[in-house]
Subunit: 65 residues, 2 copies
């Protein structure tokens, strides 16, 4: 399976938000809906900092502006 | 491998931009750098419409504003 773990980077630290995410969709301004392969959902506010799919990792960071 | 194919959705049509993408990073305002597992790079202007990692698919769309 090719899901990814989603982290929020805060002051240089990666905080795990939700594991095994399948679907990522924007929900309005700088809010994202994350749905994992178990059907769990979370929203994260921020912007995408980097996605590394082969390493199963998506990093968000807080919006600067 | 867990790379994804990246499409730009234009007038309801999905146009393939680049296959087998590993790394996605933002480059300034609404521009994204895409690097695939072969080391090929492309940039796409727009915003993420949806990512479906299990289906290996990332959709971009043109910015409305």
């Amino acid at each position: 399976m090719c899901e990814a773990d989603v982290y929020l980077v805060k002051e240089g630290q990666e905080q795990l938000i939700i594991e095994s995410v399948d679907i990522v969709t924007p929900e309005g301004d700088s809010t994202w809906r994350l749905v994992n392969i178990f059907g769990d959902q979370k929203t994260v506010k921020g912007r995408i900092k980097e996605m590394n799919l082969v390493n199963h990792k998506i990093l968000f960071e807080l919006q600067a502006d």
